[in-house]
Chain length 327, copies 2
């Protein structure tokens, strides 16, 4: 099986690459070829046994999607995208990458399928940003998508295209609305959601972190490990069980910032928790207040998607996967 | 006030033009200029007192939207579109006109607003085809959009763009999901939904009509007169009352084909009703079974949108508006 990962240089793309190379198969199919594409040159993990190609190219430019699809990958992970803050700051760029890029990819697959029978599996990472406040206490599987950001709008449009192109038989698509991925590894970043990860990741390595909102703020989370599990499950799921409604709310953990901190205290002690510095930021507080807090992801659970059920688990997964089990 | 109607040569566009020219104002604002645009040359109604221009141009071609918006109309009705059957038969054309055409229009307004302050009101005719079966008994205001046609997909994408461009302040948009417009005037057409109108319109002028489905089929209707009322109301509504959720289910009448026929009998007698010939068509029966049957359009009702409450009213409106009160 030939797998194409678009957005392979990103946080999730790199973790997915590692997992695929470690497994050497997806479900019962052996991986014979892996193509890593991203606008940033994707690094090839050293010592991989599988045939790997990399492609540094901008998906939103004419011809790029066609050239990626020309090799007829059996499975495509479409992870490429401009994230929320940048799509809001740069309106035209967000639409170009997140909408046009996605549409160009889908059109390239349709054109390829018109040349000779071809119907890859396509997994698209959507986001809970497709929802906009006010929300019910728990968002159900049939709640409407009224995004309050350009990023959320672009993801919701990608979902609609995915469902229609799948219905028409051009590919077998599945859109998965990832919860906020926490603990995001790497350096603290400027994303409005960054603090949810910063206040755990930094204290775990003995550094201070700033908490800009109150401890009562509630949000919806899954670990990077769970995210990779979602992607692999989406790649292998029997779509006959899904039907025409191809975009899913995923399971996750609804937790407050206070609960995050309590879990940190349990796993890493009072000293770690004391490294969190409260510094209220009304701008971030306001942005975050428009975000979803809880879901009843019944359909995805019935389809076999699984996430963590406590922040202790999320923190332990981070310690195992990122810190070599040392804190 | 300068009004631009795009799709002005269509059924609703022509009726809207007549209404606007008859009223000579929208709410308290006098109409000083009217631009009628369509890919088909729009006819100028004779004897109109207002300055009228017509433009025959394809909205989906580069430059057309810009040239329409360059005159800075205060109010834009975007009615242009490829209808359901054609968008399904011709995938590329549907996306080009319904998606690209709409996006090009919105982008042209954004570009115009970037040159100098400009923020027109924009009314977009969406459709209940944004919903896909299975449905609850009555579709509520927060039910999700999972279209089962390319047309419905394109309308749902137009809605998302409209909400985001409005949120960003490029224009003041309102998307209205029209019920199936019945009685559609003119000749019987090949649309799958055509029979809902044919079985009333043709018998009212002494002609036979074919009913391809069973009398128990239920659907969601409003008259052309109600549709024009919706458009005018949407053009004048205080958007402060609407908030960021800019796409509305409209009120309408939920009725079965049997109820249509009973109303015809009451208004026009047994002889008219006897002109309906039953000729089952399993293809149409199957298509129609995926369509919405009933709505709880609470929000639009609270915002002052009004539709008929019986098929007798719908038939009488047709007799008054189309048949010079004669049957
Ligand atoms: N991390 C989260 O919390 C989260 C939550 C919901 C959804 N998602 C989605 O999951 C996907 C991956 O997320 P991530 O956290 O790894 O993000 P990331 O920003 O780390 O990775 C995205 C990748 O897309 C690439 N990219 C951007 N523009 C491109 C273009 N024009 N052509 C090709 N590649 C381009 C970037 O270079 C980057 O490597 C994204 O689509 C994101 O929107 C992430
Ligand atoms: N009639 C209904 O039951 C109904 C129901 C829901 C929504 N709508 C929507 O309401 C709007 C008007 O409906 P209608 O019944 O008058 O349809 P119609 O087909 O009579 O009118 C649509 C008009 O759009 C024009 N058009 C098509 N492509 C174009 C292009 N590329 N550039 C410029 N103009 C173009 C057509 O020439 C036509 O005159 C449409 O957007 C339709 O989707 C109608």
């Amino acid at each position: 099986m030939h797998i194409l990962i678009i957005g392979a240089a990103g946080m999730i793309g790199r973790k997915l690459t590692h997992r695929i190379l470690a497994d050497r198969r997806v479900s019962d199919r052996e991986i014979t070829r892996l193509t890593l594409a991203d606008v940033v040159d994707p690094a090839v993990p050293p010592g991989a046994a599988t045939a790997i190609e990399t492609r540094a190219a901008d998906l939103s430019l004419p011809g790029v999607a066609e050239s990626l699809v020309a090799a007829r990958p059996d499975l495509i992970f479409h992870l490429a995208g401009i994230v929320s803050g940048e799509a809001e700051a740069n309106f035209a760029k967000g639409y170009r990458v997140n909408l046009d890029g996605t549409h160009l990819l889908f059109e390239a697959i349709r054109a390829e399928a018109a040349r000779a029978p071809y119907r890859p599996r396509l997994v698209f990472t959507s986001s809970i940003a497709v929802f906009g406040a006010p929300f019910p206490a728990r968002i159900g599987d049939e709640f409407f998508t009224t995004p309050l950001t350009s990023y959320g709008t672009q993801k919701a449009i990608g979902e609609l295209l995915l469902a229609d192109y799948s219905r028409r038989g051009f590919f077998d698509g599945l859109g998965i609305r990832l919860p906020t991925i926490c603990i995001r590894p790497g350096k603290p970043n400027a994303a409005a959601s960054g603090f949810f990860s910063n206040i755990l990741r930094e204290p775990l390595i003995g550094r201070e972190a700033v908490l800009p909102v109150s401890e009562s703020v509630r949000h919806w989370f899954a670990s990077p490990r769970a995210a990779i599990g979602f992607l692999i499950h989406a790649a292998t799921l029997d779509l006959g069980r899904v039907g025409p409604r191809r975009n899913l709310n995923l399971p996750g953990l609804s937790a407050t910032v206070g609960e995050e901190i309590e879990a940190l205290r349990r796993v890493a002690g009072d000293k770690a928790a004391s490294l969190i510095r409260r510094e209220a930021d009304p701008v971030i507080e306001r942005i975050v207040s428009g975000w979803a807090t809880d879901f009843d992801a019944r359909r995805a659970l019935a389809l076999g998607f699984r996430a963590e059920t406590s922040f202790d688990e999320i923190i332990r997964a981070h310690i195992e996967d990122e810190l070599g089990e040392n804190i």
